[in-house]
């Protein structure tokens, strides 16, 4: 009896256990399906991992560069930035894009003495070339008012004299445009002001010009002509009459390989003797508030300089010949004038008598010939840097 009870009892326990196991199994299965569905939903709502730009190589002689950790170089960001750069949607009345003032065939300048803003209004500064922004001064604009490319990228948009584009309105427009939500999704996850800035900065960082005749010369692929070589030597030398060294003094402000201003601190900002004391523009002083920075402006890259005229921060010189005339005989004294420019003279030891380099016409021509070796036709015509809208209409 007891055995029977025991046996019955034992049967009941096994049945219950099986029941519980089955219930647990169903519950587990439900949980697994729930987790799978949740994961699928979460994955479907997470932006895909962007594709790092794999074949990005910087010329060795350009030296170090850095990319912000929160804006790595990716294909998706580059394509988005490229489209935004050429899209007039970025201006308040949809009439101007970044490319209005930064045209590829002019190394991303516009051929105007000063940039023309909204309604053709003349702005204070000449449009700067956008080549090789990973190197050179780490401040942007002629007066250095932007500390990063991400910051710089939005300034023309929000300037009432330039593109007159409220950023909240732009984000609304981009969200309702057919292509942009997906492009932003793939690059950054969402449409936002910050991500507009990041994408534009990525596009600008990739505008690398490193295939000029000078680059090929540096790589040992060709020789410069005798005149170009003469110009190169003058470019690279600070004159020293004491040892009969003639020089164009260019390298004292434009580094030998990058040809832009120097990247350390404010080294890339110079008063190059354009104006006498009473007419001196504020320049860097507007940013630092220091009167000792008055008249200092950013030293631009000389890459593609032959196609980026007019020259200087206010576009006062139409040709390279005018620029060389300034350095050769037109230096104006002021308190913040670079001592290297004031002192550089090929003709006399006494700088009181000097207003410039005092180079012979042949030497001036040689420097101009060398400057033409900095033109990079591949950069000026690179399809990846061109308007995607033109590609779409072809």
């Amino acid at each position: 009896m007891s055995k029977g009870f025991l046996a019955q009892g034992s049967f009941t326990t096994t049945e219950k256990r099986q029941n519980i196991k089955m219930k647990l199994g169903i519950a587990g299965l439900c949980l697994a399906i729930f987790i799978a569905l949740l994961s699928a939903f979460w994955i479907s709502r997470s932006p895909p991992v962007p594709t790092a730009i794999a074949d990005f190589k910087a010329p060795f002689v350009f030296g170090r560069f850095s990319i912000p950790e929160d804006n790595p170089l990716t294909e998706e960001a580059f394509q988005l930035g490229r489209r935004l750069f050429y899209d007039p949607m970025l201006s308040g009345d949809n009439s101007m894009s970044c490319a209005t003032c930064h045209q590829q065939e002019r190394a991303f300048t516009d051929g105007q003495p000063v940039a023309l803003g909204h309604g053709g209004k003349e702005l204070a500064f000449n449009s700067m070339s956008l080549a090789n922004l990973l190197w050179g001064p780490r401040r942007f604009f002629w007066d250095g008012r932007s500390p990063t490319l991400e910051h710089q990228a939005l300034q023309p948009l929000i300037n009432p004299d330039e593109m007159q584009q409220p950023l909240d309105e732009l984000v609304r427009e981009l969200k309702s445009a057919p292509e942009y939500p997906e492009m932003f999704w793939k690059a950054y996850g969402e449409v936002s002001e910050e991500n507009v800035a990041r994408a534009l900065a990525t596009f600008m960082r990739m505008l690398i010009s490193a295939n000029s005749k000078y680059d090929r010369y540096l790589r040992g692929e060709l020789r410069l002509s005798p005149q170009e070589e003469h110009g190169r030597k003058l470019f690279m030398a600070h004159p020293d009459v004491k040892v009969s060294l003639r020089g164009g003094n260019c390298i004292d402000c434009h580094s030998q390989f990058v040809t832009a201003g120097f990247s350390d601190g404010w080294d890339g900002f110079i008063n190059n003797g354009l104006d006498a004391e009473q007419n001196l523009g504020r320049g860097l002083e507007a940013v630092t508030g220091d009167i000792l920075d008055r008249g200092k402006f950013k030293t631009p890259t000389l890459r593609n300089i032959a196609v980026t005229g007019p020259y200087m921060h206010d576009g006062r010189f139409a040709t390279l010949s005018e620029v060389l005339t300034h350095y050769n005989s037109g230096i104006q004294f002021s308190d913040t004038l670079s001592p290297l420019i004031l002192e550089a003279d090929n003709t006399v030891v006494d700088p009181i008598a000097a207003h410039g380099l005092g180079l012979a016409p042949k030497e001036v021509d040689a420097i101009i010939a060398f400057l033409h070796t900095l033109t990079d036709e591949a950069f000026l015509t690179e399809p990846k840097f061109s308007s995607p809208f033109e590609e779409e209409t072809q």
């Binding site: 170090r64 600070h238 004491k242 040892v243 030998q256 308190d335 001592p339 002192e343």
Partner: protein, 246 residues
């Protein structure tokens, strides 16, 4: 049994004591950063940049300084016989009105004390003839002349008042033969337990008023002339001095 317990206590105590000693010793010899502070001075006082505050050592005219830069390299530190050679040791000391002192942090120095330090003003010939970026060497910076000549080792720029005019002063000194090797021995070793930095005075006036007294109105610029550069190099060999603090 009691004896066994006593033995155990002694053994455990010995082990603990040994662990403490090993830990403490390890802590004291573990590589730690060492900060070197270089203070720009003129005649033993902090430099006043951008004011006509100084008298021409070889004359009576007043002059001002705008920029003062020095490449130092190949730093070696010693604690008695133990020598630590700093890797990629190329450091650009940059002084101007916003940076009257410049810090160099050596990341991992495995010495308990510093009894001796050596360094060069300038750059060794191999690095000076290279366009490789290492340490603070950068062929695209303001200290690079061009790849044929190498780097400026010492740069001083400013202006001098002469006959009612303001005239430029440009002293760029380079060339391999002008590297100067410095070696400083402490009278008492500097203990690193308190993470004390080592401080150095860098006196710009010694460039112009050392073994050779420079009249700036006669020598307003030094660049490519090797005999002029050598004059200043003779002087700048005495320009950097440690302040041991003892």
């Amino acid at each position: 049994m009691k004896r066994l317990n006593r033995l155990s206590i002694v053994a455990v105590s010995t082990l603990v004591l040994a662990a403490i000693i090993v830990f403490a010793f390890d802590f004291r010899t573990k590589p730690r950063p060492l900060k070197l502070i270089f203070v720009a001075e003129a005649n033993g006082e902090p430099i006043e940049f951008d004011t006509f505050a100084y008298t021409n050592p070889g004359g009576t005219e007043m002059f001002r300084l705008r920029d003062f830069r020095v490449y130092i390299s190949n730093i070696k530190l010693a604690d008695g016989d133990k020598v630590h050679v700093v890797e990629n040791s190329y450091h650009l000391l940059r002084f101007d009105r916003s940076t009257p002192q410049f810090n160099v942090v050596l990341p991992k120095v495995p010495l308990r004390q510093i009894s001796r330090i050596s360094m060069s003003i300038g750059i060794d010939e191999a690095a000076n003839g290279s366009i490789e970026v290492r340490g603070d060497l950068d062929p695209n910076n303001r200290m690079a002349w061009n790849w044929n000549i190498g780097y400026k080792f010492v740069l001083v720029e400013g202006a001098i008042q002469m006959d009612g005019a303001v005239m430029p002063l440009v002293y760029h000194v380079g060339f391999n033969e002008n590297r100067r090797d410095l070696d400083f021995v402490a009278s008492t070793s500097v203990d690193r337990d308190e993470n004390r930095p080592l401080t150095f005075s860098v006196d710009v006036m010694k460039l112009f008023s050392g073994e050779e007294v420079i009249n700036m109105t006669e020598l307003q610029t030094v660049k490519m002339d090797r005999s002029d550069a050598a004059l200043l190099a003779t002087n700048y060999a005495q320009m950097i001095n440690p302040i041991w603090g003892d």
